[in-house]
Symmetry: C2
Subunit: 451 residues, 2 copies
């Protein structure tokens, strides 16, 4: 059923207080439900959520975008809001509280009481670290528990935990000593002690690890969840694979946005944000580009006399700039993505750079020869063709080098290389390319040698 | 331990036939093992794999890149290779067989015999569809089985299945009628029939669904696995979340590469491929850019007389081209990414486009005014400043429109919009921008009105 149709049906049901409504919702996934809610008016939203139990409401809210969650929460009474918060997964609840106005969050926390301490703890971790995306609903059993006992306990607590697919085995001080997947557990004999069958070489992450690194580990080792520990190896929480899927998408979007100067934006913002806030984010990059472009113009201005003598020189400015731009973007995209996915390791970076120089030289020679022939025929001037060809070779080579070198240097200094591909690369490759072009022209063109 | 150190240790162990080798491997994750193997010589690889059991070898090989798998397989005897293939997950085995030379794959399939039919079946699905990434190691139980029986069966077969976290409930014709997560199963009473507690509204995907769409569904509904069915709803296999993580990374890389004309490349290729093969992939895009650049030059050539009269006009060509380029890239990046992540739905596309026009106009006015002032002061000619300013406003607006419109039109015709951001956008925005610039110049500048 399309969203539009579901929507009409729900509105009708709400108006008629239809008794089938409950059944309808039960067959709907909370994620689809959240999409439908998105299209309702505030009044309809409030009315709809009155019909849901706290648990149902929590499941739907967890699937909504953060901005929409905040809007919805402001439609609910404080009592109702705190009841729903209690039913939410602790990581989602903490995220939502962080987004709410501070006094409102504080008030809700006092109403929650029992779980408030836990949520306050989660809220103090930065959003993009292991601590920021972990949940505290994990399962940890002591080392001397038997398989039979563990399975029985699991069957009792399964409905509460965020994931039951890993059971962490802990010491008395809550230090993680091993892990068992649910699959290993159910495949083991009843009387066995957990300490005997647990895997001791488990992968855990420190609470301050960057979420991108956590995602890379989970992906590399095909994990369903990874434990988050403090500096004394004590279990603080777990990060589950469904959150990792979101992190991967978020990080790829962030990288793409940073490349075009729409940095520090959550994807939800750029697509659905207000026009002034978008302007505030995109304009700074444009102003830098503008200054860079004027600087490149001033490089051309140095050669004003040459331009006045041979106007045809101007006709090749676009092709030199565009080719340099294209090569620099290719080089930086492949390098930046290779670093982001871990395919280019830290030690391999300089080797990769050396290979890129070779590629740049070869592409330069090929594109230079092509444009030399084209320019010679177009302007009927082989010497001008030669000048354009040499300039093109130089520009393409330099663009490949700069397109890799600047992100490389950025990453050496711990700056995200995705930032490196904007106005800086553009300005340097344009200025260099045109400088080569005009310098060669005044040396080789007979009309210009006496200038 | 660093890879380099592990490597030295392994080589030493291999040379000395150290008995601790086995223990060492047991504490190493197959994925780390695969990384170490990567750095060995062919001889060392062959020697090392002789020491591993078929099952161990299979686990390591599954973690290797496809190209490395092929290289390794050619070091093994056919008998050994087929024994290892049998131990691999069926999706990985089928992928590897597809990469091997055809006669070799056929020979291996005859040696495998029992599982060969299954692998042949998997090999016929295109690589980037649900069928291409699914495994046949799923768990399906009949509707009338009890919870107790199901848990007992699970404990027996757990070591074999790819994932035990979902149990699919099937009819006698193998049609999927419901699903139970392992968690729901262990939380239910022993005597209950599966049909009574299974969720009937389960999400399944057709075997020919694009892998990107499968990834979006798994991510949206936070699934650990999704069943793949034929047109009669019969269960063919499952796609697990670990494969989805790889798909997300692969698709983001593909999108980024397509944007710069390094299309149809697997990331592993561009980073580690040979120089000639990289040239073959990057050059076509460059040649198109070259033609586009010359075309833009021919637009300038039309205004040769104007250029000869006012040489300063040339100085602003770079800033107009660079600003247009930057705005077009911003617009297309945000739009293409929004479509890829599903944040901009099909119905929202035109609305998004209308908003982008408003943003383009506003950015145009701001950037135009800025550059008008800058140009007036630099050249001491307010009229020239006005011309540059108006041209800039027009270029920025047009760039925002083209940067969104071209990918939008591409997606309407079912072409991946990521392709749309290359030379086509560059050429159109450059030609339009410069055309606006010179047209205004010959109308407004007193030196040019008589041309």
């Amino acid at each position: 059923m399309s969203i539009q149709k579901s929507l009409q049906k729900i509105i009708k049901m709400i108006k008629e207080r239809d008794t089938n409504l409950e059944e309808f919702f039960q067959n709907l996934h909370p994620s689809d439900f959240a999409e439908i809610v998105d299209d309702l008016t505030d009044e309809q939203k409030a009315e709809l959520f009155d019909l849901l139990s706290d648990e149902e409401a929590a499941m739907v809210i967890q699937e909504m975008e953060e901005l929409d969650q905040v809007v919805l929460f402001q439609l609910l009474t404080k009592k109702r809001a705190s009841a729903i918060l209690k039913e939410m997964a602790s990581d989602d609840a903490a995220d939502l509280l962080s987004e709410l106005p501070e006094n409102e969050a504080r008030e809700l926390l006092t109403l929650i009481d029992e779980d408030a301490e836990e949520l306050r703890g989660l809220m103090k971790y930065p959003e993009d670290t292991a601590g920021g995306i972990m949940t505290t609903e994990y399962i940890a059993f002591p080392e001397n528990m038997t398989v039979e006992e563990a399975i029985r306990r699991l069957r009792e607590i399964a409905p509460e935990a965020e994931t039951v697919y890993y059971v962490y085995v802990v010491t008395e001080e809550m230090q993680v000593s091993g892990v068992l997947s649910l699959r290993e557990l159910i495949a083991s004999a009843d009387g066995t002690k957990l300490a005997e069958i647990m895997r001791k070489s488990l992968i855990s992450v420190p609470v301050d690890m960057d979420q991108e690194e956590v995602a890379r580990l989970v992906s590399k080792y095909d994990l369903l969840a990874v434990p988050v520990v403090d500096e004394r190896q004590r279990l603080l929480g777990i990060v589950t694979v469904d959150d990792i899927l979101d992190v991967l998408e978020e990080e790829a979007t962030e990288d793409m946005y940073r490349r075009v100067g729409a940095a520090e934006l959550e994807s939800v913002d750029l697509v659905s944000a207000s026009v002034p806030s978008i302007l505030g984010r995109r304009l700074p990059w444009l102003i830098i580009t503008l200054i860079g472009g004027l600087f490149v113009g001033s490089v051309i201005a140095v050669f004003e006399e040459a331009l006045e003598a041979v106007a045809a020189l101007v006709f090749f400015i676009p092709v030199i700039m565009d080719m340099g731009g294209n090569v620099a973007t290719q080089s930086s995209t492949v390098f930046v993505r290779g670093v982001a996915t871990g395919e280019i390791s830290v030690e391999e970076r300089w080797g990769y750079f050396m290979r890129e120089i070779r590629i740049g030289v070869l592409m330069g020679v090929i594109c230079g020869s092509t444009v030399a022939v084209a320019a010679s025929f177009w302007q009927g001037d082989p010497m001008l063709g030669l000048v354009v060809g040499i300039a093109m070779s130089g520009t393409v080579t330099v663009a490949a080098i700069i397109g890799t070198l600047i992100p490389l240097v950025f990453s050496q200094f711990g700056i995200d290389p995705a930032y490196a591909s904007g106005p800086l690369v553009t300005t340097i490759k344009d200025a260099t390319g045109l400088l080569i072009y005009f310098s060669i022209a005044i040396r080789l063109l007979p009309e210009l040698v006496n200038l």
